[in-house]
């Protein structure tokens, strides 16, 4: 009985740490594997692994980075396993998981009918390592340090991947960069970069007292 109570306490603690990040974990996985059902399976597997190793998690450290590290390993393992399986080339009609530069072929451009889809295609065309850095930084709001910890690589590597990914995105989305995206996406009036950065610095100074 006592053992059971201890188990439920452990689970509650795990839930408190993990549940707030479930959406992020799923979003990241869908971006990587492009299949909702597979993404849920992978997130589930990663959460189970995390729970099994929960005793090794250092309390008070960043749970999000810890969870993402487990998730990314799970995704990489699954992809490695999949690549060893026989390909589906023999079927007449299959599900397409396009890779790399193929993505910018006309058929795929045809698919990318909306701006959102074009951004999606541009992100997918990035090598996996760059993609992970972009998603963690732009979408999940990770700091460089957190990304380095999650991907288990030096900060310099994070910065250089991010630099190259940005150059590639700039190239691929250049048609949409000629207009102000804030206006195009209706997210507010145009602000100059300097004004925005100054405002951000001011807010931070104020916060730090």
């Amino acid at each position: 009985m006592r053992e059971k109570a201890r188990g439920s306490g452990r689970r509650r603690e795990f839930e408190e740490l993990t549940l707030p990040h479930l959406g992020s974990l799923y979003r990241f996985t869908v971006q990587r594997v492009r299949n909702a059902a597979q993404a849920e399976d992978l997130v589930q597997e990663a959460c189970l692994k995390a729970y099994r190793g929960f005793d090794r998690f250092e309390r008070g450290t960043d749970a999000k980075a810890w969870l993402f590290r487990i998730l990314i390993n799970t995704i990489v393992d699954a992809q490695r396993k999949r690549s060893r399986e026989p390909t589906e080339l023999a079927v007449e009609i299959g599900t397409l998981k396009a890779e790399g530069s193929h993505l910018l072929d006309p058929e795929t451009q045809l698919m990318a009918e909306s701006l959102g889809q074009q951004v999606q295609v541009a992100i997918e065309a990035l090598p996996q390592d760059w993609q992970a850095v972009v998603l963690l930084s732009f979408v999940e709001g990770f700091t460089y340090k957190e990304i380095a910890k999650t991907l288990d690589c030096p900060i310099g590597t994070v910065m250089s991947r991010l630099y190259r990914a940005r150059q590639a995105l700039r190239h691929r989305l250049k048609r949409h960069l000629d207009v102000d995206p804030r206006r195009a996406t209706g997210t507010g009036p145009s602000v100059t970069p300097i004004a925005l950065l100054r405002a951000r610095r001011k807010a931070r100074d104020k916060k730090e007292g």
Binding site: R11, E40, L89, Q120, P181
Partner: protein, 265 residues
């Protein structure tokens, strides 16, 4: 601080990763250097474009419950002595499943009700059509034709595409042509027909000249293959001269069914 030094710090500045003093140095350089300023502006746009446009799908509400069930099952297996009477007692997970069954019935009934309710023409259809129609032509397409008469659309597009091109029409029963547009996808010019296919669903049929080179994917598959993308399902196929695509928020099998009813397939 020179440009090279400033540009090295631009991304870090943009990601709010620099200490305040370094920030200030770069900011004062930026104010006097239009080239670096432009660089920063482009990078900000890339970041905000990705943030604003990247889809943010949510997991199913059941996902966490499934995870918890698996955790419980593992814990139960670890606790339970092998064999014996204990395994015949209902586990916590099994009890939850018993409670879960009526919930599933409820959800199913609700879905059926929603589907049934969907038979009534949706007031959002017009809005959907507008949005769908506008998504490609917003920037470069010179023509957006709000016509619903197929013959009129075909006549109109004859002027824009080679006269020998077949203009496919969606032959699916219940599909109603609600508009068309000339669109640019990359550098290629294509035609788009927008159909409403019931339940307020909108699909687009594209036709565009096929590139001169061979299809890059799966050469053994022949002229037709399914492409799966996030969000709207996409079906792409081709013949000797043209590529066709159906894009819509429909399951792949529905898109296939639609495609198989197309003329010439």
């Amino acid at each position: 601080m020179d440009c090279e030094e400033a540009r090295f710090g631009l991304y870090a500045l943009l990601d709010d990763e620099l200490e305040v003093s370094k920030n200030l140095e770069i900011l004062s350089h930026l104010e006097g250097c239009p080239t670096c300023h432009r660089e920063l502006e482009l990078d900000m746009r890339v970041k905000s474009l990705v943030q604003a446009q990247l889809a943010a799908p949510a997991p199913s509400p059941e996902l966490w419950n499934r995870i918890v069930r698996r955790i419980d099952q593992e814990a139960e297996v670890a606790r339970r002595p092998s064999g014996g009477v204990a395994k015949w007692w209902p586990t916590a997970a099994a009890l939850r499943m018993v409670w879960g069954a009526p919930a599933i019935v409820l959800v199913l009934s609700f879905s059926l009700w929603i589907l049934h309710a969907g038979q009534v023409p949706s007031p959002f259809v017009e809005e959907l059509v507008q949005e769908h129609r506008g998504s490609v032509t917003r920037k470069r397409g010179p023509v957006d034709l709000p016509a619903t008469d197929p013959a009129e659309i075909v006549r109109h597009f004859r002027a824009e595409v080679p006269p020998s091109s077949p203009v496919p029409l969606l032959a699916q029963e219940g599909a109603r042509l609600v508009g068309g547009s000339l669109c640019h996808v990359g550098e290629a010019k294509g035609l788009r027909f927008t159909y409403e296919v019931g339940l307020g669903r909108i699909v687009s049929l594209f036709q565009m000249p096929r590139p001169t080179r061979a299809l890059p994917f799966w050469p053994r598959l022949g002229p037709r293959y399914i492409a799966q993308s996030q969000g709207p399902g996409v079906l792409v196929w081709g013949d000797a001269r043209f590529l066709y695509g159906l894009v819509g928020e429909l399951p792949q099998e529905d898109l296939q069914r639609l495609a198989s009813r197309m003329k010439g397939i």
